[in-house]
């Protein structure tokens, strides 16, 4: 049986999620035995236009990226969105609150016209996506779980409950009790509540759960002194692509 051919691509991103893949270290060497990594620009010189499985990191933010991602969808049987930029748009969507002309002027001044940019969006805005690995950055164990499931032809086990569940299971003191604002109640678990564990409020980098209790969460934020604008600003940090949900 031939090994599945796997490729990694990055679009507009910090390449942190691919770096997480490189950190699985010894398991990476085992993984390399089960699959053929045919394209991984950050780590390998070899390239290939022929692959079955494509991991895609990054958002779509230029017209040329639209063409590139469509070509990847035509070539691969399976496309996995890797990390917040690819799954929900992530930090890149902060740019969208400006008009594209204005944002180019802010950064590039008179040379603004040289640069091509469109509002940032997750890859599913352009192509059909088969699997999503959330987070900014992704969680190493979740990457392994999803990859194994794909190779075995099973459905990966991704939580559809909020970060609060994982946080309570770790017996953390709720951050709201410490006066710290947290997006945990509406954000998808799977990160083991890492940020609240380190005393930092969840920022929602893994996206909303399927049926988030936004009205209760908004009330909670309001009780902790956030104005409506401040609350929306919190949701927009990583979730800028879904603005309509918060208003």
């Amino acid at each position: 049986m031939t090994k599945p051919r796997v490729a990694f691509f990055s679009f507009t991103s910090c390449e942190g999620c691919q770096l997480v893949v490189l950190t699985i270290e010894e398991q990476l060497l085992e993984l390399v035995n089960l699959i053929d990594i045919v394209s991984f620009r950050e780590a390998m010189s070899e390239k290939s236009e022929d692959y079955d499985i494509a991991f895609v990191e990054g958002s779509i933010t230029t017209t040329s990226e639209i063409e590139r991602i469509k070509k990847i969808r035509e070539t691969a049987k399976t496309v996995i969105a890797l990390g917040a930029c690819a799954t929900i748009g992530g930090i890149n969507c902060l740019k969208n609150q400006f008009e594209m002309k204005k944002v180019k002027e802010i950064v590039y001044g008179e040379m603004a016209d040289n640069f091509d940019t469109i509002p940032a969006r997750p890859i599913e805005a352009v192509i059909k996506v088969d699997y999503w690995i959330q987070g900014c950055p992704i969680d190493k164990d979740e990457f392994i779980e999803v990859t194994k499931a794909i190779l075995l032809g099973k459905k990966p086990r991704i939580p559809d409950y909020p970060v609060c569940v994982e946080c309570q299971m770790k017996e953390n003191v709720c951050l709201f009790e410490k006066g710290i604002v947290c997006m945990g109640p509406v954000t998808r678990a799977g990160c083991k509540a890492i940020c609240p564990t380190y005393n930092d409020g969840c920022v929602g980098c893994r996206g909303l759960i399927d049926d988030p209790n936004l009205s209760s969460h908004k009330n909670l934020l309001s009780e902790h002194g956030l104005t409506v604008d401040e609350a929306i600003s919190q949701y927009m940090l990583f979730g800028g692509n879904s603005k309509e949900k918060y208003e």
Partner: protein
């Protein structure tokens, strides 16, 4: 061969997307560019309207490899606006975290991104067959650095505890002490690393340029210092960085270029080595000597070796920092910082060179202006100048060898292209 047409599309084993285009006809270079085709990120716009407490979380996302440096530099810019000096404990923890990022980044670069070239394989995966021990050693060292980042920062990529004022949670003293043991035990891996890189044949090439880095009277400057150039004796305070660094836009690059005294300059490990050699840990100096890195050095290919030297330095410096933390004790801190209107600049050495973050904020602590000057962007003009000098010297070689020389030169700079686009396709044009 007097004609050359090289077009490297999406140069591999660098962070981010670049193309190198070179067109030589009749021995004359008609075209030479490193096209930065990384999509422009627009971080300097994205920061606007965000608060002084969260902006470092945003700039962290400029880069996965140097997330700690970006976070630290944004924090320092904010603290500079507020005129705030963090505690000695906080500074020690930040330096330790920065050391860990340096070790992680340099090891990733020398073992995973450049070593394959010396073995004429396409990637570290290709090295496993004949050099498995070396690959495993690189992975162990990277893992050690990642774990140190996680211990102090919560995680390496986009650190969690690193905040304006103080850490959101301090590590436990017993965990720090246990980690020291691990670092000490890993010294043998570092020693073998030095021998491993000593045996790799670095290409010979020299072009003296201006070298810029931070400098400090107290230590080998990474966390902070004044701006120093090899071209003159004076130093510049970070807040005046624009007096020293001139950024300009070029049409073929979404990353800006920069110049200072000459029409290009170099930042990064070799620049720091040249400017601040005396302050390196003795073990690091010994490693430099063992690997044949002389002070000063004008061979950009030796930037890789300078990174190994800095890895040795950061290793030993981390042990000293941990000893200081153990002897003075560690406690959870809480700092409440109120916003103030003003302008501040943070300057930190990233693994790839000096990084500047400038922020202006209003009375409510909202960011009104942001400017980020990235190490790799500062190196781009120098890379092109090096290539211009290199090409005539290697024109007589076989084409594949020329391409490798070019790629290895670009890789030696350890470019971090995603960072540099706020903003190398080697295109040999044969006719």
């Amino acid at each position: 061969m007097h004609d050359l047409n090289v077009d490297i599309n999406h140069i591999t084993r660098v962070e981010g997307h670049g193309n190198i285009v070179i067109d030589v006809k009749g021995g004359k270079i008609r075209e030479l560019r490193m096209d930065i085709i990384e999509s422009p990120r627009f971080f300097e716009a994205m920061a606007l309207g965000r608060t002084y407490k969260e902006v470092a979380q945003i700039t962290s996302r400029i880069c996965g490899i140097c997330a700690v440096t970006h976070t630290t530099t944004s924090i320092k810019a904010i603290e500079s606006v507020l005129g705030f000096e963090p505690s000695i404990q906080t500074i020690r923890l930040r330096k330790l975290l920065l050391n860990a990022e340096f070790i992680q980044s340099h090891i990733l670069h020398v073992y995973f991104l450049t070593a394959p070239d010396f073995f004429r394989v396409g990637s570290v995966f290709g090295m496993v067959k004949d050099n498995k021990d070396d690959v495993l050693r690189g992975m162990r060292l990277k893992s050690l650095a990642n774990d140190l980042c996680a211990l102090v920062g919560g995680r390496h990529i986009h650190p969690i505890t690193l905040k304006v004022g103080c850490f959101s949670k301090s590590p436990e003293l017993k965990d720090i002490a246990a980690f020291k043991k691990r670092i000490v035990e890993s010294r043998s891996d570092i020693d073998v690393t030095v021998k491993f890189f000593k045996d790799l044949k670095t290409p010979e090439f020299e072009r003296e340029t201006e070298y810029i880095s931070l400098t400090s009277p107290d230590e080998y400057a990474l966390y902070g210092g004044s701006i120093k150039s090899s071209d003159h004796n004076g130093e510049t305070a970070p807040v005046d960085y624009l007096d020293r660094i001139k950024e300009f836009i070029v049409p073929h690059s979404t990353a800006k270029h920069a110049k200072s005294n000459r029409n290009s300059y170099m930042v990064g490990a070799l620049a720091r080595f040249n400017n601040n050699y005396e302050q390196l840990h003795p073990k690091a100096k010994a490693a430099a000597e063992e690997m044949g890195l002389k002070h000063p050095c004008y061979n950009p290919y030796m930037n890789n070796i300078a990174q190994v030297v800095e890895t040795v330095h950061c290793f030993e410096d981390s042990i000293n920092l941990i000893d200081d933390l153990i002897s003075d004790g560690l406690s959870d801190e809480k700092v409440e910082l109120l916003p103030e209107k003003g302008r501040g600049v943070g300057a930190t050495e990233a693994p790839r060179g000096t990084l500047y973050h400038e922020h202006k904020m209003d009375d409510n602590g909202k960011i009104t202006y942001a400017n980020y000057v990235i190490p790799t962007a500062q190196n781009l003009a120098n890379i092109e100048n090096d290539l211009r000098s290199l090409i005539p010297q290697v024109l007589n070689k076989k084409k594949e060898e020329i391409i490798l020389d070019i790629e290895m030169l670009v890789r030696a700079y350890d470019p971090c292209i995603s960072c540099s686009s706020h903003l190398m396709k080697v295109k040999f044009v044969n006719e």
